[in-house]
Point group: C2
């Protein structure tokens, strides 16, 4: 007999599929195919009966023919939330992974239970948060775009500064400006951010610069960290380019505003009988995975969304959706200054208007930006407040409430103490078993930006540290007395200036079996996992 989790009726989410039947088979068969294809993916005769009992396949919740459209149906199918493994890639896989390769199936709506929405989290800032940060109320936010790709970095920065002086609320990179050799990411971010900050110092306002982050897997997070250290508070990202979950993760980990770009999503929308509606992907799903602002090609620009599709996106971003914050719709794609009244009428105040090329086309970019803002103010009653910046970078957070933010030049050593540093508790005694251990944090949590922390520990005679393991490694240097490192099944004596190493997930513990204090430096990665008791 197999052991199974038997918790009763796990929660489910429901997907509405619009299905066009062209092969003469009954709609019920098409619906049933989906319930298996997206879950167990085995022939029906191979499904274990327990799987059906536990409703591990999709469950048909309703089938409605569409009046006046013979052969077309709205089919609601629910899935157990836990089959998503609560990961974004697997959520997308369950929604549309294999059936993307079938014809005539389109997702038109998704309804998640509160619990699932809480896990994925939604926008960190959303409409309210962005208004607080920028201090702009009563009107849409004005967003401009730094371009074209290929300008020297100094020129990109000059454009950024002019946008900010002209009053843009948000400035994004063009999404094709990434880390090209002619304007490398780091240099560009430094200069554009500086230009915007200088402008802010003059205007007293809070224009936000959102650089495009589109690096390879191995340097993308480095790019984000670099930007955060330079004071950047938000990023532009194409979830389809870098991976859907990459956006959710960066927003959460670095407390960032995220503006989602629709690059490469168009294949989902092109055929009205296939893929998913723009409202589902650019609205519901991008909001679920953290977009504070979702850019889409507005009707009547260079692209082919209809006004109704654009309205659907806006509604999916702003309508009640559990506890998720509403997000800003951002109509774009060939918008011009003359079209502001039309945008105003279509999207109302809780939106972001993105005008790129038409502002750059103005003889004077600062003046062009001012015209952009004036255009918005003619349609809305602006109210300004003091920009409120509650931003704390994730790096600083981790350190907790440390008072010092500027690294000291020198920590003078005397009596196994370092000036300006205090002895702290080693760990929470409720959580771990240890005896007679003290800790002094020396560097890494006092405003340094190093990838490592240096700490000094001292263990009294007869004392020991907690028996634990973790993914991060230790480098230990003996400073005082003698100690014993117990690592996996081995013991190592540590004397002064010996250097010991504890590897990934190696169980370890330090003992002082001598009669004088055992002191040692311990160097660890700054960003590290929590120790686990073993």
């Amino acid at each position: 007999m197999h052991q199974r989790t038997t918790s009763p009726a796990p929660e489910r989410f429901t997907v509405d599929y619009r299905i066009t039947v062209r092969d003469g088979r009954p709609i019920e068969e098409h619906a049933r195919d989906i319930t298996i294809e997206q879950t167990l993916e085995v022939p029906p005769d191979v499904i274990p009966p327990e799987h059906l009992e536990q409703q591990l396949t999709g469950r048909i919740e309703g089938i409605e023919p569409i009046p006046g459209s013979p052969g077309r149906y709205d089919v609601a199918i629910s899935y157990r939330c836990d089959i998503t493994a609560f990961s974004v890639p697997q959520l997308f896989n369950v929604l549309y992974g294999n059936i993307s390769l079938k014809d005539n199936i389109r997702i038109t709506d998704i309804r998640f239970p509160d619990s699932l929405m809480k896990i994925f989290g939604g926008p960190r800032y959303g409409i309210d948060g962005l208004r607080r940060l920028s201090g702009v109320y009563g009107r849409p936010l004005a967003c401009t775009a730094i371009k074209p790709m290929g300008l020297p970095t100094a020129e990109l920065a000059r454009i950024a500064g002019a946008f900010a002086l002209g009053g843009a609320d948000l400035i994004k990179d063009d999404h094709g400006i990434t880390d090209q050799s002619f304007h490398p990411f780091e240099e560009r971010v430094i200069r554009c951010q500086e230009a915007v900050e200088e402008a802010n110092a003059r205007t007293g306002r809070k224009t936000l610069y959102l650089p495009m982050v589109s690096g390879n897997f191995d340097n993308l997070e480095k790019q984000v960290r670099f930007a955060v250290r330079r004071g950047v508070r938000g990023i532009l990202m194409g979830p389809m380019l870098v991976g859907f979950d990459t956006m959710r993760y960066m927003a959460k980990e670095y407390n960032l505003i995220v503006m989602a770009h629709p690059a490469l999503t168009g294949t989902c929308f092109h055929d009205r009988e296939h893929g998913m509606t723009p409202a589902v992907l650019l609205g519901t799903l991008f909001r679920l995975i953290g977009a504070d602002i979702s850019i889409f090609p507005n009707a009547g620009g260079r692209f082919h969304f209809t006004a109704r599709e654009c309205g659907g996106i806006a509604s999916a971003l702003r309508a009640p959706m559990g506890d998720l914050a509403p997000a800003f719709p951002c109509p774009a794609g060939g918008m011009s200054l003359e079209r502001i009244p039309e945008l105003a009428a279509a999207f109302g105040p809780d939106s972001v208007f993105l005008i790129g090329g038409d502002v750059l086309r103005q003889a004077d970019i600062e003046e062009g930006t001012r015209r952009f803002l004036d255009g918005i103010r003619r349609s809305f009653a602006e109210e300004l407040a003091e920009p409120d910046d509650p931003f704390v970078s994730a790096c600083e957070w981790r350190a907790g409430g440390v008072p010092e933010k500027t690294p000291r030049d020198l920590l003078r050593f005397a009596g196994f103490r370092w000036e300006g540093r205090s002895r702290e508790d080693y760990k929470s005694p409720e959580e771990f078993d240890f005896r007679g251990v003290s800790r002094q944090e020396l560097t890494g949590r006092f405003g340094e930006q190093t990838a490592f922390d240096l700490r000094y520990f001292e263990i009294e005679p007869g004392g020991y540290s907690s028996l634990e393991k973790h993914l991060h490694e230790h480098v230990i240097i003996g400073v005082r007395g003698r100690g014993v490192l117990v690592k996996e099944m081995e013991e190592f004596e540590i004397k002064i200036h010996d250097v010991a190493y504890v590897g990934i997930h190696q169980k370890h513990q330090l003992h002082n079996r001598g009669s004088e204090p055992f002191g040692f430096f311990c160097i660890v990665d700054h960003l590290r996992d929590r120790p686990q008791k073993v």
Copy 2:
């Protein structure tokens, strides 16, 4: 005047777009729109003349009307390679980012110069490499799939073992089996890998198990590392689910076989006038970013690819493509044992046949797998060789060309030397001015995965280190004698156990003005910039 890179004629890659004109505008205008939309994305009147000179926009290389299809054209457009920033996300963005949101444009072919292919790298193993690993020649490899999702881990492992005993060459997870609470990733990988290894010990063959990796951004790499440590040599991944570059990175960083799953790619193919052909995405592009095996839904199964489209994928995976290794096409999607002769005729020996449900349907899974292999052997002349396993995990690689690859537990200290570590030159004397400095690298370059390196330096009386600055910070701990840190305009005396800090871009130099050696530890980030002379 702006300074620009003026290297002559940067290399270009060429994309063939099939365009269907429905709006009466000339094809030249449609083509020109693409050249700008995918690069500078500004109105034509805003393009700086230098950008045109430097050919930063796409360049139309040819326009051919399609005979017998009025209004349809094949348009070849080339782009500068460097606008991709040599990153996969930006490559996809240039290929099809914004125009995915337009209608009637389909990518039918892409031609990359050798240099670009080298950078992205292609398959690490490819057909030859996988044959060497498995020792199977002369016939297609047989791949089975562990499923359905929801079985207890022990049962999944039992199925894996039976597949391996039955002679499957490759065993993959069903792509919906990820990290669900009822079969968590780590437990599942341990047990399935063990089951396959036990079977291998009995059969003397080398069946490879490829677990599905589909975690969130923050745990995906951890999952891969976990699998690699458990002896796994390959993974199944959906590039569209986790991000295209994620696959390339994991393959490269961990020296893994990657099998690409087409989940969610179907929206690219559905409309024959939109997106890209299956051969371009599942063939050319997936091969470019490292797929050793590319799964696709074969004609006549549950999905709707045509035989010609499937042939196109196989050809794109196997045809000459610079120095890239050929990759295996893997027809799948509702294949049954009876269809083996048909698969054999369509795809020949250099392919992977994936049969999932129909093997599981057999009364005895081991016997069913044997039938699968027998079916293949009836169509092909199998030749077996000793499986050859040159696998080296990337974790070990990171250390670069140093002799030691496994971190030492303990570096015993004696006479200001550490056992197993040698004194090295401090720096190149041609490049920097210094006197009487030696260096010992202690940790960080010997197989550790720490974010920091620990070094010991010693300066003779009268000696000094180079005067320099850099973005990375130093944490310095006095070990022996006394020294002076000159930092910007200040001096700090360093005695034993004093901890000194050098910040970002602070000019600094260390002096020994005493009469005995001055020794100190210096901790730096593992990834750091080169010092600049000042």
